[in-house]
Structure formats: structure tokens, C-alpha cells
Amino acid sequence: MGERIFFAIAAFGVIASAVGVITLRNPFRAAVALIVSLLSVALIFLLERAPFVAMIQVIVYAGAVVVLFLFVIAYLGDKPPAVGPDPLARYQVLAWLVIIGLGIEGFLALGNSRLPGIRANPFQVSDIGSPRAIGRAFLDSFVAEFEGTSLVLLVAAIGAVLLARRAVLGERGR
């Protein structure tokens, strides 16, 4: 019972702040809404017996990625850039139709799913979320993914440095 109440609170936080992210005009406030959303998702991870993933979510996502966003937003200035009227305005209704259609389809798929126990109370799980379990899984079964992830990070870091260098060199030419 306590779990369901906790889930309800966290899920409300997720959905409410997600609505805020996609509706707020001011980029700074949208980023703050994203922070709330990410912290609520971390709570959901705790419910799903994933404490390590939850903490990494807070440290990496809420603690670093959104800080990057805020830096760029502060750099670009606060007022939304003055763009003209939306040339694709009349196609927006298609976006809404797609979302509503996907929503109905998802609802039906979830309702008719016959995966055993999908709507029942989950049974006890063993230790799947502790650092020990994650470390074991990475090194026993998923070494390739582990190395691939480090490669992705390296490439992203090199890319970021190159992008910054180009910009600095470009400005020096003026």
C-alpha cells in the first residue's frame, strides 16, 4: 500500500513537470521543470529496486546535464528568440492527432496484453540493483556494452572540444 502511494506521488511529479517542460515558454523555467521531472524519475527508479541507477540519474542527469543546459540558456539570454509566426502552424493539429492516436493504441495494447502477471502484484526480487549486482552484470555479461559506452563518451568529449575550438578560432578571425 505504501508503495502505491509513493508511486502515485512520484508519477504525479513526473507527469506534471513533463507537462511543464513542453508548455513553458521561458527556457530557464522549462529546464527547472525538467529538474523536477528527473528527480521524480529517480524516485520511480528507487521503487523499481534500482538504487544505483537512481543515484546515477541524480548525479549525471539532474546534476550535470541540466547544469549544462542552464549554462547554455544563461549564455543565450533569457527572452525567447524573436522568431516569426510559425510557418508550419496548420500542421500542428497533425501532431496532436498522432499523439492521441498513439495514446489510444498504447492504452489498448496495455489493456489486452497477456503477459503473465503484468497487472498483478510483483513478487519479491533478489539483489538486482545494488552496485555489486550491477558491477557483476557489467563484467560478466555485458563487457562489450561497457567498453562501447566508454568509447561513446570519449567521442562525445572529443567532439565537444572540437566544436568549442572551431567557435573560438572562428571568432578570432573577425
Partner: protein, 330 residues
């Protein structure tokens, strides 16, 4: 954590009250120590040894006008100091203060929450503390605040990486992220400062930078950028920023004591007293560094963090990994 709710509430209340009082006297101690370092007495007017000084300061700050500057974002302006205090005080729940004690048939754990990822929770909370700076600096509606906040946030993010790496050596030796397990590990072997001296030094330097203390306090120093991100804060909100800074200083000292100095371990005195002694020693180091070292310029600060501290931490990590893997394989 199977204690009744009542005991948990009492524990939490006692801890918070003790910490808030400790913050008050830490400010006094710092000012007196700084005075002594500078060949003068510290505050000694308010009460015998000046011990009423924190009360006087608190009264002054409480009676100041509590305003929100024009052009500022009201909600975020008021939330920023709260974030600073909340993240600092919540971190105390992870620090173990002693072995479980037995009272009245109950077994009381002397730690708020013994989770398998206790160390990561502390890092997560210190990562969230950067938002107090960013939101406070931006919501003030003041260019200097924003600039100070951006610099401060960049500094925090940079030194957070070095701090994390310095701690991984300890993790490899203790094989657990739970702070209680780390203390038990030091009980069976030695204090980890002897096994990880480089790690301890890197952790200490990164900790000073993480708490925005001198010599890494350029973004908030009074003579630079008009006090940076808390330029526009006065009265109780300023007091809350100060509270957040000192409490996070105490929490990081407690973390350093737990990771490297054996936590609550020590002969014949109760564990809690030993931990306080170790925290006081580390706080003394913090204040000593403030009194003696000149401030680093911002680019020197960033260069130091990325080009000197991070490679040292990484080298420590690699060497520790090799030694543990080759010599201590179970």
C-alpha cells in the same frame, strides 16, 4: 531500519538540532581562529569568550528586511537558499555515528539510513547543491550574480569529478559503497589514509573547492564581483546560504573522516566523540587554509582542477586498481 517511527523521528530531531547549533559555534570558532592566525583576538565582546556572538549575528540577520529585488524571479529567488540548506542537512543521514546501541530492548542504529549506495547519495546531494548557486545567481536579476553563479557552478562541476575519482580507490579496497561497510573495513584493516594517501590529499583539495572555501572562493569572495551569487541576498536568506556552506563543510569533513580516518573507530572513547574529534581536525584544516593561502584566480583554479588534480586522481585510481587486482585477489 526496522525501528519504530518514534525513534527515527527523535534521532532526526536530535541530529538536526545538534547540527544547527554546531553551525552557529563553527562560525564563532572560525572567526576566533582567524583572529589568532592574524595575531589578534577574535570576537570577544558578546559574552565571556564571545560565545554569544552567533546569537547576536542571528538576531541582526533576523531583523533585517526580507526583500526580493525588482526584476528577480520571486519563486526561484526564495527557493535557492532552501536548496542549499536542505541538500547539506539531508546528507547527514548517511554518516554513521557509531555501532548500534542497545537501549530498553531496542537496537538503535546510529546512522540515518544504511543504504547500499550511501556514498553515491552524498555525491548526488552535493551535485544538487550546485542548483542553489545557479538558481540564486540567475533569479537575482543581476549581471554580477549571474556571472558569479556561472563561474561557481563550473568550478563545482569540475572538482566534483576529481572528488569522485579520489574516492574510487577507497571503494576498491572496501568493496562496498555503504559508509557503514567502509568503516567496518577500516576496523579490520587499517585506516584508509595509510593505504590511500594520495586519494586523501586529492579528496581534501577537491572538498575545499566543492564548498567554495578559500583559496577556491573567487566566485563568492567579498572583494570580487561584489560577492558573486549571493550579492542580492540579505537577512535570513543570506543566513541560510551561510548555513548551507558551513553544514556542507561539516558534512564533507565527516565524509573525509569516515572514508579515510576510520569514522567512529577509536579506543575507549565512544564512537560518536571520536567522529566529532576527527571532524574538528578537518574543519581546522579548512580554516587554516583560509587564513594562510592566497586566493586562486579563476583560470588558475580551473587549470589546477582539470590539468593537475584530475590526472593525479586518475593515476591514483589506475595504480590502486593494479595493486588490488594483482596482490589482493580473493
Amino acid at each position: 531500519m526496522n525501528e519504530p517511527l518514534v525513534i527515527i523521528t527523535i534521532e532526526a530531531l536530535i541530529t538536526v538540532l545538534v547540527v544547527l547549533n554546531a553551525f552557529a559555534f563553527a562560525t564563532l570558532w572560525e572567526r576566533k581562529l582567524l583572529g589568532r592566525f592574524q595575531a589578534r583576538y577574535g570576537p570577544n565582546r558578546a559574552g565571556p569568550v564571545g560565545y554569544m556572538q552567533p546569537l547576536a549575528d542571528l538576531l541582526k540577520l533576523v531583523f533585517k528586511e526580507d526583500f526580493v529585488p525588482e526584476g528577480a524571479n520571486r519563486v526561484l529567488f526564495q527557493i535557492a537558499p532552501l536548496i542549499s540548506v536542505i541538500t547539506a542537512v539531508t546528507a547527514i543521514a548517511m554518516i554513521p555515528f557509531g555501532d548500534p546501541i542497545h537501549v530498553d530492548g531496542y537496537t538503535i542504529q546510529l546512522v540515518g539510513a544504511n543504504v547500499s549506495v550511501g556514498l553515491l547519495v552524498l555525491f548526488a546531494l552535493s551535485g544538487l547543491a550546485t542548483y542553489a548557486l545557479i538558481l540564486g545567481g540567475w533569479a537575482s536579476g543581476n549581471k554580477y550574480s549571474l556571472l558569479g553563479a556561472a563561474r561557481s557552478a563550473a568550478q563545482l562541476v569540475s572538482y566534483e569529478v576529481a572528488m569522485g575519482l579520489s574516492v574510487v580507490g577507497v571503494l576498491m579496497i572496501s568493496r562496498s559503497m555503504s559508509l557503514v561497510d567502509i568503516v567496518h573495513g577500516q576496523e579490520s584493516s587499517t585506516w584508509y589514509i595509510l593505504l590511500q594517501p594520495v586519494g586523501f590529499i586529492v579528496f581534501l583539495v577537491a572538498a575545499v573547492a566543492e564548498t567554495n572555501r578559500p583559496p577556491f572562493d573567487l566566485p563568492e569572495a567579498e572583494s570580487e564581483l561584489v560577492a558573486g551569487y549571493h550579492t542580492e541576498y540579505a537577512g535570513m536568506k543570506f543566513a541560510m546560504f551561510q548555513m548551507g556552506e558551513y553544514v556542507s563543510m561539516m558534512v564533507i569533513s565527516a565524509l573525509g573522516a569516515t572514508l579515510f580516518l576510520g569514522g567512529y573507530l577509536g579506543p575507549w572513547l565512544p564512537g560518536f566523540v571520536w567522529l566529532v574529534i576527527k571532524i574538528v581536525v578537518l574543519l581546522f584544516l579548512f580554516i587554516w587554509m583560509r587564513a594562510t593561502l592566497p586566493r586562486l584566480r579563476y583560470d588558475q583554479l580551473m587549470r589546477f582542477g582539470w590539468k593537475l588534480l584530475l590526472p593525479i586522481a586518475t593515476a591514483n585510481l589506475v595504480i590502486t586498481a593494479i595493486v588490488v587486482a594483482v596482490f589482493f585477489q580473493t
